[in-house]
Structures are given as structure tokens and as C-alpha cells.
Subunit: 256 residues, 2 copies
Amino acid sequence: MTPGDDAYPRIRLYDIRKACSTCSLRELCLPVALGREDTEALDHIVERDHPLRKGDKLCRSGQPFAAIYTVLSGSLKSSTQGENGEDQIIAFHLPGELVGLDAIGAGRHHSTTEALETTSVCKIPFSRLEELSRQIPGLQHQLLRIMSKEIFDDHELLQVVARRSAEQRLAILLLNLSQRFGRRGLSRTRFRLPMSRHDLGNYLGLAPETTSRVFRRFLTQGLLSVTGKEIEFLDLPALQALTESPSAPPRSSKQG
Amino acid sequence: MTPGDDAYPRIRLYDIRKACSTCSLRELCLPVALGREDTEALDHIVERDHPLRKGDKLCRSGQPFAAIYTVLSGSLKSSTQGENGEDQIIAFHLPGELVGLDAIGAGRHHSTTEALETTSVCKIPFSRLEELSRQIPGLQHQLLRIMSKEIFDDHELLQVVARRSAEQRLAILLLNLSQRFGRRGLSRTRFRLPMSRHDLGNYLGLAPETTSRVFRRFLTQGLLSVTGKEIEFLDLPALQALTESPSAPPRSSKQG
DNA sequence: GAAAGTAAGTGATTCACGTCAATGACGCTG
DNA sequence: CAGCGTCATTGACGTGAATCACTTACTTTC
């Protein structure tokens, strides 16, 4: 703890003490690979604000970039807008995940991020983070690492949207969400989708009706049960098999 | 870092002197926003090797990450492999553009990059670049900037693949290539596609046959002329209009 | 420079998924 | 808890693009 500035930790309103050091998500979040002391240093620059309500925007495309955020509870979606006005969801953010990395460097957001439900986030002013990362070598690297992961995830999504059938797309997303819930210690086979069917479809490049129908097919095949947004996997291996099957809309590339 | 050998510019074989400072691409490449002196510092860490022949691989998915590359002449494609064995081209790289950024941080490539024709690249060992970027503040920022752009480009591609018709996809790619040729002082309306129809289709999430048919349609509509890989735009405004038109396969999201 | 291999173009056919339309189920708000 | 709006589901239908099958045009090779 930097001495003397007890008065200044920028944690507002909601609990004044509980930041990264005591956060249950610290193993998933920015502090990964940071020691106790370094994590405490992070505590001092993290800010918390009112929780967002469903539909509230955390940041908008075009806005100057000032901070990155981590999700504390709830969930968000980020989307970009094409020239044609259609938007495309590029990511869903669950607790422990970082938001806003794509704006680092450009100095301006190119996506809009919106809460899918009541959501709390930690705000990490970027200038202070940069400053801190000059002192903590691991942090600088961690940042690059996370950005790199963002690129990797985008490529995976591209792969899915460009080369997979509707069933595969949905299966892949559900398994991915399952993993992410599992990482937080929640059930991997039973969870609540935070997003609407519409958003689900948009993310996967499908019409909402198609999404609905694929759910129905999974249901009748006994792969899972759906009740509104509640999902329960009944046949995980079959879902995984779907994922690996080679069938896909465009065939192309087979050269090694 | 590796002590002892920092005295020697690592430029091999092909011309010993000509690196960034005198490179015609320096305004497009890493040295953007660097001063004369800093650019000269870059000179000393850049390595050049034999040019690659068509089909040669610059790096493979899974390999440890050691360096980033910039294209000096020729062109490359990067692709990822899905579990199903299908690969998806995620980017084409033209002269002045950087390759391998997605591997920073993870320490390992997640894509394979291959020459589309005879191409020369500059190799920039990452450890030395990092070292240098500690001394040159602008360079660190430039790196982040370029990574951020990579994310942005991926989002654009996603937008295109997920929400656009075959005609729109091709038009968008052609216009994008045109711009990139233009930046290098080449014609924006007449150029040679470095990649096969197959690759073109793969990148856009289309079957090669579809790509071919779309070309044919453009041809009969008088939008452009195609002779093998030679392209000439005949009606640029019409192509641009295509790009902006709102029609797209999945409709979805219209909430603001 | 002929043979072989690979890439490109074209037509016929099929099918997955988008679109339109109508109904039913939640989940607010008062 | 009634009334409204949004979201989800389901069906009927149309279509854009994948597939399949084949021909034609380049490259590469010996």
C-alpha cells in the first residue's frame, strides 16, 4: 500500500475496501500472475461506480478511450456498427473478463458496450494502469497477453461464423459459455444465458428464428433442455462431437 | 538483452545498409511516427533473409513466437485451423504491413503465414524490439496502436462475413485492397490480385465457385473488368454503393 | 514443348437458412 | 392482476449460395 493516501483510493460509493485483493475473481481477472503486493497496488487505481442497469451503455463507439473495465457481476455485450447500420455483436463479457481493450492505442472506442442485465464493473483508468505497468513488469506483459487473446478470440469467432453450420455455431457458443461459467466455479452443465435469442443469433451471424429452431432440434435430439434462458446439457459428448464434425457450409481449403 | 552481439546490425545477405531509414515503405510501416534517429535505431535490429518463394511458410501455428515481420515486397496470407481441419484465412499481408502481432503475449503463434508469391520480409526479433521500445516511448505506443488496429480489422472482417451478401463481401474486399495499393502509390483502379480465387473465397467465407460467379456478375454489370488476376475498376461509385446498401443475409439488431 | 497437375469458369441441382407472418409466453408498470 | 410491449416460438415459403460434375485455361515439370 502506498502510504498516506488512504483518502484517495478511487473506490467510490459501494464498499470502500473490497477491491482486487479480496475479489473472488482475482484469479480470472487482471491480477492473474501478479503477486500480493502488486495486486494491492492495483486496488488503488480501480474505481467502482453505480451498477449499470440492463441496457445502460458502458461506452460508445467513437468515444475517447479513458479506461478499461472488468466485469464484477452481470454481463455485457460489445458490438460494432457497419456502414449499413447493422450492428454485429463481437463479444459477450462475463464476470472476470476485460472490456475495452480494442480501444487501447487507437485512443478511441470502436465498439459500443451495453449491459445485458444489472451489472457491476470495475473501472481501471488507463493512464494510471500504464503508469503502474511501468513499475510492474508482469503487468505490462499481462496486458499484451490479454490483447493478444482478444485477437485470438476474434479469429475463433470468425472461423465459426465463416465456416460452420447453424447447429455447430450454437453448439460451439454454448460450450464456450459453459467453460466460462465453469471457470468461475459454476455449473458447466446448467446455467442461465444472459443474452436474448436475438443477441445470440446476431453474435453467431444467424437470424433469431434460426437460433430458436436449432434450440428446438437440440431439444428433440435430447442434447439439452431449454426453459427460456435456462440451459441444461443432457448429452455433452454429442454436443462436442457436433463441434468437431467436419461438415460446414463453404468447403474450400484442404491444402496443407 | 543477449549481451555481446548488439554491435552488429542483423541485416544479412541482401544489402547491408538499406533498412528502415531508406525504405520506401517507412511511412506505412513500423517507423510511422518515429523520428529519424529512432528509425535508425530500428535499422539495427531488423534482419533480412532470403526471399520466400510461393508457398513457403513464414511461421506456423503452434510455433514459439520470436519475431514480428513486415512485408517488403510480395504478399502473404495468414490462416487459422479449426478443430474440423478447415482453415480460415484471417488476413492478407501486403508490403508495409506487419505480420505476427497476434502472437505477442501468448508467446506462440496461433496462425500460419504463407507467401502467396515470391516475397521479401523484414524480421524484427521481438525481444530486441521490446528492449528498444523501452527506450523509445513512441514505439511502445505504436505497437499497441498496431495491435489495436488488428483487432479493429478483425471486427470489420467479422462484420462482413456475418452480415453481408456474397456480392457485398467481394466488393468490400476489392475496395479495401484498392485502398491498400493506393497507399503505396499504386493505382487504385487497376491492380493484380496476389491471391487465388480459392483464397479469396476462403477469406470471405464463400465457395470459390461463388466468388467466380460474383466476378462474372460484376463483369456483365460493367462494374469492373477481370483478366485472370488483373482487376480494373470501371464503375467505382457503383461498387461503393453496393458496399453501403443495407441488404444483408441476417437482418437482426436495429435497436439503438 | 508435351504431359501432368492445378486453378478457374460454368451450369444444374439442392438445401440451409433467411424472410414473412401469426401466435403464444413472459415480464414490466401502474 | 390487468394490460401492454417485448421476446420467443413455430410454420410456410423463397432464395442465395453450396455442391456436384464437368470443361477449359494456366503452370509446372522433365
